[in-house]
């Protein structure tokens, strides 16, 4: 089966001349459906850049990115936008919910942008919120939600509409540990349903939820491990975390 995300020899250079910065250097990454990959590394190592390039938010300077087998570099801007609406879900550290829209409207936004009728999109958004236990907050605006609630809404927006690639940049960075683990559990659940996931995190405890952990330093991938007994497996064994 074609991997959901493939990055081949991807490099990213910001600026030029004396202010040139190599954010990524020849990074290779493959993520299959149902797999959750965590990316760790110190500040400035290129974690977020990796994620934005994987999600087509910015272009690689060199190398190739394939999403579900399709080369991103061959797509027009509108095609990339459509791909983001249909295939890619983002979760950001600071939630990035649209302030003027309710929780349901935020979740249904990618569907409405994709031409789904408003009623149908809202129903799907509400269903996604219900799945994440936020049905009673459906009509609240982001300003009226707690941090944990906002991030759960962001997760709902990222998974609604049968997305296939989930990208999360420090999704628990602005949350307390309990909420952080809740969010990680939601991401893990989404991957168990068939999504491919990439999560950038500083927290090794949370990285343990992933199937693989990659380490970046100065834009290079320096190590790759598989957590032997992640929290999920502990939970499966009935250990109270």
């Amino acid at each position: 089966m074609t991997p959901m995300l493939e990055m081949h020899q991807v490099s990213k250079i910001h600026g030029s001349g004396p202010i040139e910065v190599h954010a990524l250097k020849n990074v290779n990454l493959t993520v299959d459906r149902g797999e959750l990959v965590a990316v760790m590394g110190p500040s400035g190592s290129g974690k977020s850049t990796l994620l934005t390039i994987a999600g087509s938010l910015e272009d690689a300077t060199e190398g190739e990115v394939l999403i579900d087998g399709a080369a991103v570099s061959a797509m027009s801007r509108d095609q990339r936008a459509r791909m983001r609406r249909r295939s890619i879900g983002y979760v950001f550290q600071d939630f990035n919910l649209v302030a003027g829209l309710t929780a349901t409207e935020n979740v249904s936004l990618p569907l409405e942008l994709d031409g789904v009728a408003t009623g149908t999109a809202r129903a799907a958004g509400l269903e996604a919120l219900r799945t994440l236990g936020l049905a009673d907050r459906a009509t609240a605006f982001p300003d009226d939600l707690s941090g944990g609630e906002q991030q759960r809404v962001a997760v709902a927006r990222a998974i609604v509409g049968h997305r296939r690639l989930l990208l999360a940049d420090e999704p628990s960075g602005a949350l307390d540990s309990a909420n952080g683990e809740t969010v990680m559990r939601l991401l893990r659940d989404a991957c168990k349903r068939g999504m491919a996931g990439v999560v950038v995190t500083h927290d090794s405890q949370l990285a343990a939820w992933a199937d693989r952990v990659l380490f970046l330093r100065d834009g290079r991938m320096v190590d790759q491990t598989t957590p032997p007994r992640g929290p999920e497996s502990l939970l499966d064994e009935g250990v109270d975390l």
Binding site: R84, G115, A124, V160, H162
Partner: protein, 819 residues
């Protein structure tokens, strides 16, 4: 969620179609509702422009046709017979009816009233006439229907102390007053209406008819009488309203430039939200739609609010306007289609203004947008390159057309020149001046240096704001300069300068109808001259210039002295009087900057009139090689015969008027006193029209320009300082005091305001000089107070406001400017 994939459209459209647009527009509306305060300035300006268009078009639509309505009613043409012979007149009326078809006949006879200066006009007119409706309305009682019945206007009723039901003796006849009437198109038209059957017994008869000017001019009266024909286009109201609409369109175009600066701020503030939208899959078109929809809705709100405000204001001013202009006005008689066009234009202008900021914001890379920090804008030399040619073309057009818009083409050229000039200045000046100011401030204190460098670094934002500020202040300065120049020029505000009084022996003449010069004895003339000197003594340091007219030799048949006149031919055999022929003196010619001593001795006639001219009322003689004078004040004599010419022809002269000139503007009280003294002496005095209006216009323009400029500054400075909040944090961390922070904001706003004032004033001066290039002396009395208020007051107010507001650190300095 399983239903969603099947519900998702399978088409190839990448933009999500109508559902996506609806979602975007809905969000744009939500954002507008949340952020309406930040757009209040744009909304107010657009509302004001639509209100001005609505009120102005309504006023023009009603007022423009008033003169024609008052004289011709709804007729296209009128034929005027003087000194009509009753028998011949009946034949002529019958012939006219045959020639034109339906006609209306109005007879006039002037009846002297003992003890009254003015005679009473007995007017015979059919109230049910085909063309009479705009000329005659019943106020009370009924119309006269039989001999011996009359209906009078209010002033006649008051003068004769009569009312409905009473009687009055006029012209050896006792008339029963059966009604009160008025001319709704001219409330100062005073008369006593009598039965239409009296028409043929009148001193003069006017025949109203439908038809072309050619048809009217080719009518030949069987009696041999030569009627004066006059006509009008018949759609003066609509034409004037369209003129107002054209002016309003220009205003809206200029407002949209200010609005564009406002929408730049709005788009920048929403940048992070737009980034979120893009990350969720919005295309560039979706992102553009957010700001464009915002602009369209702002335009729609302004259109509705502006039309409502304009209509309410129009209805409110109608009663006062009726009194001021002396005509009845029906408030509901407004040009709805023009108002609708103005509303549509407002929506288009606002949408267009939002387009470019929308495009720019939509093109910001998603990651940069998500960070809330747009990339440093790349300098773009193209707009500046376009600026200079546009300025040159604009100035060239303004110089060529000058300030005399004699035709529609001239008007269009002036508008095109103005728009070209303004666009050129706005493209050229902001980036150039910001760069120059940055260099000049190299040795200034840290806050000033940093403020100016920030303006340069963020010049895409500061340039747009500076353009809008320059425009607001430039328009204000242009109005101030133009209104000031109008006091010293002829054709902007008309008759005389504010330092002149014109005293006449006879009545004030009007074009096409020049009263004869009253024949006075020397004793009477001495007495009048004494009154003139008394009037001159009421104003400061007055000089009195006597004005004589040339008299036609051996001409009889009029009551008074027969003054020579210049006429022009309006059709073969039919000529129209243009002006009296005055005797040239060095003092009078000085107003046209012509030296009498240097004129070619063979020259006889000097005049402001153009085209082939005839001397009358002697046997018409074509004027040979007249010296052309530039147009002057309309009431100052404009056609002259040289003393040598007068001598050669052996013509006599008669004293007609005196021009009193002072060194200081004549006050309203002085004018009133002059009118009182003139009335006592049985002479007339003319003063400058609309002086108060011009002063009010200048002050209003200054205030409006300042408010708009400060409003734009309030929007822009906050944005720039938010973008540079990192610098402020660094400054604070390195020990900068609150005073430094205050200075930084004060310098930013003060510098923007100062540059805007400089560009605006320079542009306005350039434009006004181009318009008055043939008579720069009109610009010499510079309105210092207003210019100081704009040039110094605005920057100081901006700096002071920046200083005071910077004391309270805005929350956006500590946080991202997301919402």
């Amino acid at each position: 969620m399983a239903t969603l994939l099947s519900a998702r459209p399978t088409g190839t459209a990448d933009n999500g179609g109508a559902p996506a647009r609806r979602a975007i527009v809905r969000w744009a509306l939500r954002l507008l509702r949340r952020e309406w305060r930040s757009q209040i300035l744009v909304l107010a300006l657009l509302t004001l422009a639509v209100a001005a268009a609505t009120g102005g078009a309504s006023a023009a639509f009603n007022l423009a046709p008033a003169e024609g309505n008052a004289e011709r009613g709804s007729a296209d043409q009128s034929l005027h017979f003087e000194n009509a012979d009753p028998a011949g007149m009946a034949v002529d009326i019958a012939a006219a009816e045959q020639w034109f078809g339906t006609i209306d006949v109005i007879g006039r006879r002037y009846v002297p009233i003992p003890g009254m200066f003015e005679p009473v006009e007995l007017r015979s007119q059919d109230p049910g006439g085909a063309f009479s409706a705009p000329m005659l309305a019943l106020v009370d009682g009924r119309y006269p229907t039989a001999d011996g019945e009359t209906a009078v206007t209010d002033a006649v009723a008051e003068s004769l102390n009569v009312g409905v039901g009473s009687t009055v003796d006029l012209d050896d006849t006792t008339w029963a007053v059966v009604g009160l009437v008025e001319n709704p198109s001219d409330l100062s038209d005073e008369f006593a209406l009598v039965d239409p059957s009296q028409a043929v017994r009148s001193d003069s008869v006017t025949i109203l008819a439908a038809g072309s000017a050619d048809q009217a001019q080719s009518f030949r009266a069987p009696s041999g009488a030569s009627p004066t024909a006059s006509g009008g286009p018949g759609d003066e109201g609509a034409m004037a309203a369209v003129g107002v609409l054209v002016a309003a369109s220009m205003l809206l175009a200029l407002v949209s430039l200010v609005a564009a600066a406002g929408f730049v701020v709005v788009a920048q503030r929403r940048l992070r939200q737009l980034g979120m939208l893009a990350a969720a899959g919005a295309t560039e078109r979706h992102l553009r739609l957010v700001t464009v929809a915002n602009g369209a809705v702002v335009g729609l709100i302004a259109a509705v609010a502006g039309a409502a405000v304009g209509l309410v204001a129009w209805i409110a001013v109608v009663p006062g306007l009726e009194t001021a202009v002396g005509q009845r006005i029906e408030p509901s008689n407004v040009p709805w289609w023009l108002i609708a066009v103005a509303m549509v234009l407002a929506v288009v202008a606002a949408t267009a203004a939002a387009w470019w900021p929308a495009r720019s914001a939509a093109r910001v890379p998603i990651v940069a947008a998500l960070s809330g920090r747009p990339p440093r804008p790349r300098p773009n030399g193209r707009p500046s390159a376009w600026g200079l040619p546009l300025v040159v073309v604009g100035i060239a057009i303004l110089v060529i057309v000058g300030n005399a818009a004699d035709s529609f083409i001239d008007l269009v050229l002036i508008m095109a020149g103005t728009v070209s000039f303004i666009l050129g200045i706005l493209l050229l000046a902001p980036s150039t001046t910001i760069r120059a100011a940055t260099r000049l401030a190299e040795r200034a204190s840290v806050p000033v240096r940093l403020a100016l460098r920030d303006l340069y670094r963020y010049r895409s934002r500061s340039g747009a704001a500076l353009a809008a500020i320059s425009l607001a202040l430039g328009i204000a300065v242009a109005i101030v300069l133009a209104s000031s120049a109008a006091l010293y020029t002829s054709n902007a505000e008309g008759n005389l300068s504010e330092t002149q009084l014109l005293v006449r022996i006879g009545e004030i003449p009007s074009t096409g109808d020049i009263s004869p010069i009253p024949d006075r004895t020397q004793a009477e003339l001495d007495q009048i001259e004494g009154a003139v000197n008394e009037i001159a003594a009421t104003v400061d340091e007055a000089t009195v210039t006597p004005i004589d007219v040339a008299l036609a030799p051996d001409f009889e048949g009029i009551d008074g002295l027969p003054a020579m006149v210049l006429t022009e031919e309006v059709s073969p055999g039919l000529r129209r009087i243009l002006s009296l022929l005055y005797v040239a003196t060095p003092e009078l010619l000085d107003h046209y900057e012509v030296d009498l001593d240097t004129i070619d001795p063979s020259t006889e006639i000097l005049t402001v009139e153009t085209g082939p001219l005839w001397l009358e009322p002697i046997e018409p003689e074509l004027v040979q090689n007249p010296v052309q004078l530039s147009p002057g004040y309309t009431s100052i004599p404009g056609s002259f015969i040289t003393p040598a010419g007068l001598r050669d022809r052996g013509w006599e002269t008669a004293q007609a008027a005196w021009l009193i000139e002072t060194t200081a503007p004549i006050s309203d009280d002085q004018s009133a006193e002059a009118v009182r003294l003139a009335a006592n002496a049985g002479i007339t005095v003319e003063t400058r029209d609309s002086q108060g209006d011009l002063h009010a216009l200048r002050t209003g323009a200054t205030a409006a320009g300042m408010v708009v400029a400060l409003g734009i500054l309030a929007m822009t400075v906050g944005l720039i300082r938010t973008e540079t909040s990192g610098d402020v944090r660094i400054l604070t961390a390195t020990g900068a005091t609150r005073r430094i922070r205050r200075s930084l904001t004060a310098a930013t706003s003060g510098a923007l305001a100062l540059l805007g004032a400089v560009i605006g004033m320079a542009g306005a001066f350039l434009a006004i000089i181009a318009v008055h290039v043939r008579d720069l002396s009109a610009l010499i009395p510079v309105p210092v107070l207003h210019l100081v208020l704009i040039g110094v007051g605005v920057p100081m107010a901006a700096a002071a406001a920046g200083w005071l507001l910077a004391g309270r650190e805005p929350s956006t300095i500590a946080r991202h400017p997301i919402d």
